[in-house]
Assembly symmetry: D2
Homo-oligomer: 369 residues x 4
């Protein structure tokens, strides 16, 4: 379905980096979900570039909800959120419009769209479109919290520096800390090392990627489908929609390649009336379906392709080899901005699966007006 995703609720995305407005339509939501505009603004702020480790293109992200919200609650009709593009410098791109930037979608877009694509700033492929994703899904993040379902993501690795693991004994504290953090790292020392690495990469005209780790607590057992709509299928589908994500693994993921079954299985035991596991090698999912333990996965984020070092490439219209030196405003890393996008798309998938299982009204925070 191209720019629409979801089975029971759906998200439709539109816009280009340098168009007048970008936005998203979120449909299928329960009526009676309380809208917290401040929280939406907060989530957008986590995505916004900040200081020396980000691009100088900073946007206000003055979103407006033009439909689906009435007197502070969702109505059940589709919510369209629109964000104007304000701080665009389109002329930066006209010079290089025929040069395929390595690692970007310029060349693949020209194969697909035969030159009709809006080339300015990556056009429809721009990470700028994650802003409406974050704004729309903020509604879901807060609705899920009302149901005691919490999502958080931290930067687990950046260029060889590792954050500490989630502390499962104090997981709500970790989640709360991340929800406010501008730079989502649990260990302060790791944070400062990572930031230094980003600043250093910037000074070299280079860029960095990393690894994000996400936890979801509070999803009951029995959610997901056995084959094509497994929890892992739906979450990975959503994650690989996010620009720069090139890997997704659940639980021990690629670590399983060097493990034995006796190390990989999570033994069940009773905890009062509840069935739990002590280990969580499987990341909360067995056979594609949640087992009630935290859902745990990691996403590989590739280094931002926009670098200032000179690169070899081709002029797509002249069909000749050229060298390219990018100018303009670019992020030396986007991983710290990407994490709220990961949280947002995760919230979408969780809400979608819950709506399928428990019906449309499940996420409503109020029953009746």
């Amino acid at each position: 379905m191209k720019n629409t995703f979801g089975n029971n609720i759906s998200l439709t995305l539109f816009g280009e980096s340098h168009g007048s407005e970008i936005g998203a339509v979120l449909d299928g939501l329960a009526p009676g979900i309380k809208i917290d505009e401040d929280f939406i603004r907060h989530q957008l702020s986590l995505r916004r570039p900040s200081g020396a480790i980000s691009t100088a293109r900073v946007e206000e992200d003055n979103f407006r909800m033009v439909s689906g919200v009435f007197e502070g609650y969702t109505t059940g009709a589709p919510i369209c959120i629109i964000i104007p593009n304000e701080n665009t410098k389109s002329q930066d791109y006209s010079k290089t419009k025929d040069l395929a930037r390595p690692g970007h979608a310029d060349y693949t877009a020209s194969c697909k769209y035969h030159g009709f694509e809006d080339y300015r700033g990556g056009g429809h492929f721009s990470g700028r479109l994650t802003a409406p994703i974050v704004a729309a899904c903020a509604i879901l993040v807060s609705a899920l919290r009302e149901k005691r379902i919490f999502i958080a993501t931290h930067i687990a690795e950046l260029y060889g520096t590792f954050d500490r693991k989630f502390d499962h004994n104090r997981i709500i504290e970790d989640i709360n800390a991340l929800s406010c953090a501008e730079f989502a790292v649990l260990d302060k020392e790791a944070e400062s090392k990572m930031k230094d690495e980003i600043v250093k990469a910037r000074s070299e005209g280079d860029s960095l990627g990393g690894e994000l780790e996400t936890i979801v607590v509070g999803v009951p057992g029995g959610v997901g489908e056995p084959w094509f709509d497994s929890v892992e299928s739906m979450i990975s589908h959503a994650m690989f929609s996010i620009p720069a994500i090139k890997g997704v693994e659940f639980g021990d993921g690629f670590g399983f390649a060097a493990m034995k079954g006796s190390e990989a299985n999570d033994s069940f035991r009773m905890d009062g009336d509840r069935v739990v596991t002590d280990t969580n090698h499987n990341g909360g999912v067995n056979g594609g379906i949640t087992n009630g333990m935290p859902i745990l996965f990691r996403c590989a984020v590739k280094p931002t392709p926009s670098i200032f070092k000179q690169q070899n490439t081709v002029n797509m219209s002249k069909k000749e080899n050229v060298t390219l030196s990018l100018e303009g405003r670019h992020d030396p890393a986007i991983i710290h901005r990407a994490r709220v996008v990961v949280d947002s798309m995760t919230a979408f998938v969780i809400a979608d699966m819950l709506a399928g299982r428990y019906g449309t009204d499940f996420l409503a925070t109020e029953d009746k007006k």
Copy 2:
């Protein structure tokens, strides 16, 4: 859509490990695709257990195509492929029906289906259902070959033993070698070490996982969608549908976390009239869309959860802790059997995306009767 997958062509899966028959419906195919039943049998043989490294439950997989095929060609109507279950020993399971096997879907199924699920041999969750997937997608594998699109998967790692990399200068030879290999490893020495490891794990009552690496050559540039139906989204969705897959990465994948942009970007250059890249860190996909280079991805396969070592678990109906010692026939590793499933689902996604881009008739091998 639960047990149905695909946008332009679709695959619907049904059956249980110990039911009378299992099968799949493949719909949306072009009319005029030649059906090669021997090739279907060959693909099924690659999935079948073999010797000391597999389960003793061996099935003939006597598939029949009950619809959609007429006089040796696809008709354009849905193809239903049915495979009888023959070598079932259902009594093996009745003793343990209330015991949640760790790493399996027993507990999550009981959460979702409230005890109505067919518990015998994993029921609908059984890897047995990959047989109709392989049979149905064999039609696509051969149709894609007619269009000069080739897919191959090898065991890149097993318990610390690594196969050699694909040789991109002789990639068709590598692909051909794998298409016949019973145990899909390119380096004979690695093969024998891996088999030894599996036999050893079996003797310990334990099991192993590993890592599969897949290559697709011949897909033109411009296939895929920018956001939710990116090539990575669609392929990962399909891969995570396969039991035991717990990670998917494209190109350098998780390796990107410790790389710089200048190392991660693939420079473009002209090769005659064609735009190519020398490196392929991005696995043939930029911005979610193919760039004409080989599509390259890896899947993490967890160790088979059925092990003979004693495990702790719960009795789901009595809600009490118990120990479990599995009996019956189980695979000490399924990675060598899973690779043809990976090839099959990959063929499905590629065919689906090509059908969307070039129309229904694209995969026909004959134009007109």
Copy 3:
């Protein structure tokens, strides 16, 4: 989605008139729905040809459920129902395979499938495929009855003879009478006149159509969607899938063209705590959503295109004009057999919409095993 239909539950159809087997996959159902095989047989018997007013090709319809059912209940996994084709005389069709039978899909199939289609007996287009639809949806019909939702269809008109209207004061009696009736007419006199007309048409080598009227009682208010998935959209989509249906109208339907708003509106009033309407011009649907009154719609059924009178047509391979005189076994009318197909597809749509609104488990007849 071609041969798959439904948003929350789905029905996938496969098979050809003269293939070995035909069938359907019904997916997304709640676990714990009681399976009544006798009722499935009963529903199939209503579709089966009978006596002088039907074709002489009578099939046993020995269905088998090869998946999704365990110990008498749905498991929640996809149910595949298979019916063997037994009484086929394929040689009847080889003589006329290049002659486009007027009113049939022979010519359109050859445009679409370029001659690869199975031409025998209409192939995949055959009304024979409604047998698995009826078998699969019988599960839904009985599950809906458990929830006090009842569906019935009668032949409202046949070649100028009209049945009496539903008696809304005794609607359950009308529904019960129709559920057993071999020929679904409420007025015995109309029934015998209609049967006479069919016999007469048969003796002339001709055929008849008619009009079916369907009622659904017990659906609560608030089901359906405002725009593209309105109750009318979903029901009409399903009805026009049934061969020979060429018109669908809700409530007063085409009669509205000569009415005024003051005659067309249904006034609301309180009936105790319930909001009701006295008239039902709108057929139980306002703005695409149920209002709690009976859903009422009519389907136009065209005369069976297989007639024995000589017809002009073309030889599709020679591209020349010819005359055609059909032989073989054909129905002089299929309306009395079509009504259970209408009931079946209606049950599907209602169950699909309820599953979306109230969640997967809504239709379960048992909560827990």
Copy 4:
């Protein structure tokens, strides 16, 4: 999929009658379709109220395309069209917010949305939302014309007055005449009688419906699917999405009920190299698939439910019987405004089916930039 429709291209609708903006997202289009903004304005003008036969709420419909269009052509990315709501008088509705207007969706919306719906002017159910449908689909109407596919709709009946039939010998002239006509009637005398009837109904505080007839010429044979995505299924699904449509019939439709097979079949004959039929009882569709003849169907339009006569209804919050006298600005008939909506949704379905059959790029008017 609720407010999203389409298999290969998709249309997503959002907005409310009295919200700030309404709009639609059209996705999956070929790149390189020329955008003719004047034509979009023209199509919108056909939907706009005019003079004595319409409401006094007239809007400028100042649409803007905020995405998916670049330098005058579609880019292949989703097109979002936004139209501000300007001439709203929301206070008209606050007095009657608890009174369920008969024939409207007020009551069904309150069942579904529990009182959270935007009640002003019908909210999300308002016919106002057909404006973005018309604007978005205007792009398709002109792209189809480039491919020699033409669509036109006329008012076939209004309160007992009938327009003349389409003249199949001069069908392009008829289509051209309708494409400019403010009031889509072919026979001038019928037009003036119909307008008189509307004016008379208005003076009585009442309203009228009617019947629309649509023709599509130029669609090749072989488009559509045999079962669930038949041409009739897809078109009727789209038509019943339009407010006030309560019936859809193809070819002779409900007239088939009193016909014989020998009268209903359309004989084929050769016309040079082409297969044609002389009659078109089946409306250009056999077995759900186009046969190359004009697609012909009719829609029943119910009288506008907003009438000024006093009506009985209920106060939904007080749960008591009341009388209701509507005030505000209302249409005494919407059929003349609805016809361009019918054309628009028809264009959508045709474009969607062609995209599936011939691939994404089929509708492009330019191949390469």
